[in-house]
Symmetry: C2
């Protein structure tokens, strides 16, 4: 079976917003063995939306329509689906009672326009919405000789996700033939996209049953493997076969097999070794600390860090003397090493990281161009420094640099 | 006139990727007075794509189809449009020569599959692609009694953007009635979405000619105003009328009129006042520094910061003594104030910020629940502390807290 996802809302047709709910839904549908074949974004226009629903019925078995279930005049999803399927809408007094109770709990009175959220399509099952006022609806039946399933879900991600997971997934599973899609993601640090592809394409091209996709970001390449079979075990076996060979080929460069971020992996390794980390960052300006502390529980291994933009603070927080900076230049191998060693000593950490470089767009010179970054890792055993010349804008250079620094910690602890 | 955007590519129907090109195209079309009424994502399937093109012709005057112009078997856009419009494809020897030259420049020989990129729809104008091998195509003509324009553009953002700006925008402008859309964005800090709407809805509802949209993030509400008129000056006058009244109503809460971020505004204010800033952050873990330093040139006013997760580092970097933390608790009004004052003194900054709180998901208690954050701003005149209880997950709490802290600096310097 296949699916189409229709996102409703004029705000999704502006330059400011795009539909992201469909990524969540696609993942969940894939897990049930369902492929998404078409996605649509439609404004708050009943005629266009009704036509879109009819077109979707001709293309897909499962149609998920999200948004447009609220109380305002712009919320036309119920009316449009009724028009498309030639169904009636009937007001359900039980839903009204629930909405009134929801308002009463906050000491408010339900305004009259909210009542339209209680309009239910003939034959539809109401999907309760514990996180909002608008309930969803589930319809299934024959259309042009094939069984079709249609879901009307609320647009806010929090409401949509809970409603799909708690009420739609099991209903879908009961209707679907046994089929499962298994996916695995390998994340790779320290190699570019084309270098990874050159190494692994000869392997994955041998496996026609497994779909392989390469995605590249700053300092990270992801390989997504995906296979479909009757059972999850069969699909898993297909994926693991090729993913295992690819992993053997790439070795150390693979840092994650279960979708962990590099900062999560670094945290795991630090905890496993009973080690602690402190960082002194100049050009990454806090990004390195921010990434490390974005992991819950990071206070167990991350002692803290210093953002040392000025030379005064390089001295104050990481003990790198002024004359030393003047001698070597703030962006230098020597200062990176001194930052790493200084912050390690100040914080009493097992490992110290130091990063200094030129994030741009200004501040570059012929000798030290924008994108030049020195990364240093200090430990009991000594200090290693890696020099890199990164491409891209300020944001990209900073991300590359934080990725390189984290990967040095990972490799050190491996 | 209105437009539909069709993005082609099976990778856009996975959980990993979504179309973002359409945001760029929507902005450009809006500037030309064109509204986007429908967006579609279609996989590499000629039959589905041909049907989608026919459906788009029934809905929109301008159809932009992007992706699927490459040399592989999956690249079926040309074939699908030929099928939908009942046009022929003819191979253009001039394009082949160009592609061969492109390969030759790199010392490569063009492989045979590349030739299909030279297939041109009958009557189409070829759009040169200086940034890639696949040229685009422009078609215009009558369809069901209305003039339609169809563009086939390459999928890679860099190629698509240049081709649209350099070759499509002027062609479109020549075909369109004089119309312009003017937009303005007001950004608001320190108020929730419903509070903002309650204050300003009575104003913007009076202006039927201006479309007003509210978007809300953690600690920031955006109001987007949009009007269409024959000239950009008329459209601007319509928008400025309502935006000005809304701004008067919201006063101080509006921090940006030209789409600047809060960290950019804080940077501007600091520079204007010749002031400097230093930060000591616990629960935001580097996010505050990262945001401040994401602005190019921030070294002129941002001295640096300390990420002080452990009590030892609160003492070492911000001079907050151990016994003081033990007395008041690390998450307290007093420690926030001491962090702000300590980091200000250590760094010799005009202003010092201190943030301490519980980002979650663990670490909360009944007395100090997840989401409780203290923000302190120290200056020559003294220290102010703001206590907030933020909703949401770790990422959201941290973003809320950084927003609150930055907004305190803005208000102080206003």
């Amino acid at each position: 079976m296949n699916a189409e996802i229709i996102a409703i809302g004029s705000e999704l047709l502006t330059p400011h917003r795009t539909d992201t709910n469909s990524l969540f839904l696609t993942e969940r549908l894939n897990q049930l063995g369902v492929e998404v074949v078409f996605k649509v974004v439609c404004g708050d226009d009943q005629r266009l939306l009704a036509a879109a629903v009819r077109q979707a019925l001709a293309r897909a078995d499962i149609i998920i329509i999200m948004g447009g279930l609220g109380p305002t005049e712009d919320d036309l999803t119920r009316e449009a689906v009724a028009e498309a399927l030639d169904l009636k809408l009937e007001r359900d007094p039980e839903i009204i009672t629930k909405i009134e109770a929801r308002f009463a709990k906050r000491g408010w009175k339900m305004s009259a326009n909210n009542a339209k959220q209680a309009d239910v399509l003939t034959g539809a099952t109401v999907l309760a919405n514990p996180n909002g006022t608008a309930p969803g609806q589930w319809l299934s039946g024959m259309y042009d000789g094939r069984e079709k399933m249609i879901m009307l879900l609320p647009g806010p991600p929090f409401e949509l996700k809970a409603m799909f997971d708690d009420q739609c997934a099991a209903r879908l599973r009961a209707k679907l033939p046994p089929a499962a899609i298994y996916t695995r993601t390998l994340k790779i640090a320290g190699m570019g996209e084309s270098a990874v592809d050159a190494r692994v394409a000869p392997i994955y091209k041998e496996y026609g049953d497994v779909q392989t996709t390469i995605l590249a970001g700053a300092g990270e390449v992801q390989l997504h493997f995906r296979a479909r079979a009757e059972t999850i075990d069969e699909a898993e076996a297909l994926v693991e076969d090729v993913a295992g060979k690819v992993e053997d080929e790439l070795g150390d460069a693979v840092f994650s097999r279960n979708n962990e971020s590099l900062e999560q992996i670094v945290g795991l390794f630090l905890q496993m070794r009973g080690a602690t980390l402190a960082v002194a960052e100049s050009c990454t300006g806090g990004l390195l600390s921010e990434r490390l502390t974005s992991v819950s529980g990071s206070s167990r291994y991350f002692l803290g860090g210093a953002v040392v933009y000025s030379n005064e603070l390089k001295a104050e927080f990481a003990g790198v003397p002024h004359h030393f900076i003047e001698k070597h230049g703030a962006v230098s191998k020597e200062v990176a090493a001194a930052l790493a060693e200084g912050i390690r000593a100040k914080c009493g950490a097992t490992l110290g990281l130091g990063v200094t470089g030129i994030a741009g767009p200004t501040g570059g010179s012929e000798a030290k161009p924008v994108g030049l970054v020195y990364h240093a890792l200090a430990s009991e055993a000594g200090t290693e420094v890696v020099e890199k010349q990164f491409p891209g804008d300020r944001k990209r250079v900073r991300h590359f640099a934080s990725q390189q620094a984290l990967d040095m910690v990972r490799r050190k602890l491996m």
